[in-house]
Amino acid sequence: MKKLEAVLITGRTDKQGETLEIGKTSKEYFEHLSTVQMNQQDMSEINVKEGDTVKVETEYGSVAVKCKASREIDRGIIFMPYGPWTSLISPVDTEGISMPSFKGIKAKVYKASGERILTIQEIVEGYE
């Protein structure tokens, strides 16, 4: 299976703020947060289309999320809203200053048809 090498940027979005206020256990929050935005050509390269499930994998873990096409992102860069799904794959080392690097993380993305996307309840259960 073809794996795309990419740089993962995590960040806040307005939709995240809106759905957060509806509630963290809401369907809206789940649907917006458990996504990755990618360049269309990058998507073709790993043979996925909008709405397909992909796996994003870093040195620290992997997570299944839905794929979203973005016209704004260059090839080789992927974007995920910062939250429960990115925490599963974010770096741990804080380089002496309290915070891991949540932007510019080396990642691989590949098609993961049929893979279940975890809910926040399931992520918590996985931790416990």
Partner: protein
Amino acid sequence: MKMKQVFKDVVCSFCGCLCDNLEIEVENGEIRPLSKACTVSRSRFVNYNRDRVPYPMMKINGKHERVSLEESIKKAAEILRNADRPLIYGLSSTTCETQRKCVEIAEKTGGIIDQTATVCHAPTVVAFQETGEIHATLGEIKNRSDLVIFWGCNPLQAHLNHFVRYSVFPKGMYTEKGRKERYIVAVDVRETRTTKLADMFLKITPGKDFELLSVIRALVNGAKINAEEVAGVSMNKIKELVEKMKNCRYGVIFFGLGLTMSRGKHYNIIATLNLVRDLHKYTRFVVIPMRGHFNVKGAGMVLAWQTGYPYAVDFTRGYPRYNPGEYAAVNLLVNREVDAALIVASDPVATFPSPAAKYLTQIPTIVVDPKISMTSLTADVVIPCALAGIETEGTAYRMDGVPIRLKKLIEPKEGVLPDEEIMEKILKRI
């Protein structure tokens, strides 16, 4: 109360903009923004009663069971009293009054207190301590700025009214033509709504901010650079920006997590602050971090005036000590160096790297929050509280350090207290 009430000049308690010009209608327990609220703010007011923590809860045999407020407070105090080194964490989405009580709990229990800037603008805080900050209020920027640079931030998605109220569109005392009088620059690794509205967009290679900032600073200081491009940006464009910077009347750099969270972290911010300082050879220039949660600035303020340090403060020896890479929440959890936690108005299980989140779910944890969070799903004790800025008043600091009084619009549900009172009750029991 059936009566319809309209509140004017209401403060929104979502982001660091703390917009204080909203008009809000309250009727039959429903809240409707009438004007000026952004989509996030609107969602906050309209949905204020959704996904609330329904009642005080304790984990009994692995399941959350309803308990009385008294029982939950007794248990919370017991957990904190019995811990060798509790972590008190969060603070940024509540009032300064509550933050002050949290410091008192940390001191009394010999614990550690940290706030959400720790995974956000911590590098900014550290850089300010290193270099100093050339600062202004947003009001001054509205009235004077003619060059506005957004570096690694996207206000049109994260601080939605920033453009309208403070930085791009408003007409001020010396900026009578508003947008027409301002030149807007955006620096980002990707195209965003903000970069599309800018007059100049510098698309930079991820992780190369320090390089670009250093070259700009060198050019400002008259150095010659032999390169055709730096960090993915052409030298012509960089030189054009440098000329704009030197020749503006009043410049400002707003920066966000694109700088703090990328490679280099506090060195990126130090480079920015030094650049702003050097620009004073030519003109007036200021710099403001785009702070996220509505009172994260206040959390830094309260901690600094109470303990001398802005975050990651350890009281284990009975007096405050400060060492970000050691006493910060992520480090403590990853290294398993705390044995209980009090989480106030934040959700570390949702945002911390998984080993930190995992350890937090394994130690006795108390959550005080108005709404259900991921951390509350796993906490041993969950105590609901009133929503700051909707059900209770208090003080919050805007991103530029201006304190603003939050208003109370509606009574909380019977028995639900402001978190300040809950902290006071816990303190008395410890």
